[in-house]
């Protein structure tokens, strides 16, 4: 299915947000996630299905002022 990850169009077969993170190499990374503009807590990623057209944000700690 076609999804958008961090603003870039992408294809995935991952059924859940947790599976998508693993597919992208973020399984062990410290990240926060949002699906279609709403936060998805880490504990909920396994139970969060991915659907065609979903927009996913994967955010990490970064420098800031």
């Amino acid at each position: 299915m076609k999804i958008v990850v961090n603003g870039e169009a992408s294809e995935t077969a991952a059924p859940t947000l947790a599976a998508l993170l693993a597919e992208l190499g973020f399984a062990e990374a410290i990240v926060a996630t949002a699906l279609n503009g709403s936060m998805v807590r880490a504990a909920k990623r396994e139970a969060t299905p991915i659907a065609d057209g979903d927009r996913i944000e994967i955010l990490a700690p970064m420098q800031g002022g």
Partner: protein, 270 residues
């Protein structure tokens, strides 16, 4: 409490924010440094106990965020996550929620930006977002203006600290409205007040402290200096000098000269 902060004959001077006791009056931003090593050295020499951080999209290849976060954790400082760049209440609240999970802290430097040229806060959105976040258990550090009415509304929303701007973010202009900042200080004598943004030089930071501000938050002035670590140390010294000056109760100014050497006993030599 930091033993280094206790000076002979003086009571310890500690800033209390949301129950945390902070010895350093400098809150330092972590962005725009030439390298991670220089950032780490600047944090060390600044003496800062609180550094600001943000949330940005992680890149698949480099995982840059992971190494940054490890470095910050190794330095042993508290983090104050920001909502930089957020323009709506929803964006800011969602970013704060994600930051709370990621960084494991209820602290958030709340920015709701209202104007691109000045990066000044949208104070209406700021108050609304602050109310939502405080109700949800966040400890909000709002980036605001020196407006007294907005300040009152932020306090009513549940904020226990206020962070008025000195000047537009990254401008280095210093304290644009000293009257407004003095007025804010006078109206809220017991609320921790932090000048956030616009500081360019250690003298600006010292001036804020001499006014009675509790702390200063800055980033660009250190990160964009030719020698960031050295500038971080310069700011630490300026803040300490300004704070000591405030506690020492500065003299009143006057328009005309007043001789400091005694007039009595002066010889007549003409």
């Amino acid at each position: 409490m930091d033993a280094m902060n206790v000076k002979p004959g003086l009571a310890p001077d500690v800033l209390e924010v949301y129950g945390a006791q902070i010895s350093s009056r400098l809150l330092l931003g972590t962005a725009q440094y030439p390298s991670p090593a220089i950032l780490a050295e600047a944090i060390r020499l600044s003496g800062a106990e609180i550094v600001t951080v943000s949330l940005r999209r992680e890149s698949g290849a480099s995982l840059a965020g992971q190494s940054f976060w490890k470095m910050i954790q190794d330095l042993g400082v508290r983090v104050l996550p920001n909502t930089a760049g957020c323009k709506t209440v929803k964006e800011a609240v969602t970013t704060a929620e994600m930051a709370r999970e990621l960084f494991g802290t209820p602290w958030v430097k709340l920015e709701v930006i209202g104007e691109d040229d000045t990066l000044q806060p949208d104070v209406f959105g700021l108050v609304e977002a602050a109310r939502l976040l405080c109700r949800d258990g966040f400890e909000v550090f709002p980036y605001t203006t020196e407006d007294l009415v907005v300040a009152e509304k932020l306090l009513s929303a549940g904020c226990e600290v206020l962070m008025p701007w000195g000047a537009p973010i990254g401008s280095g202009r210093g304290l644009n409205n000293p009257y407004g900042l003095r007025s804010l200080r006078a109206h809220f004598p017991r609320v921790p007040l932090v000048v956030d943004a616009g500081i360019g030089l250690p003298s600006h930071a010292a001036a804020a402290m001499e006014m009675g501000y509790d702390a200063v938050l800055l980033n660009t002035a250190v990160a964009k200096a030719g020698d960031p670590a050295r500038m971080a140390r310069a700011f630490a010294r300026a803040l300490e000098a300004g704070r000591e000056a405030f506690l020492a109760d500065p003299m009143e100014t006057r328009d005309m000269a007043a001789p400091s050497t005694p007039v009595m006993g002066r010889a007549v030599l003409d």
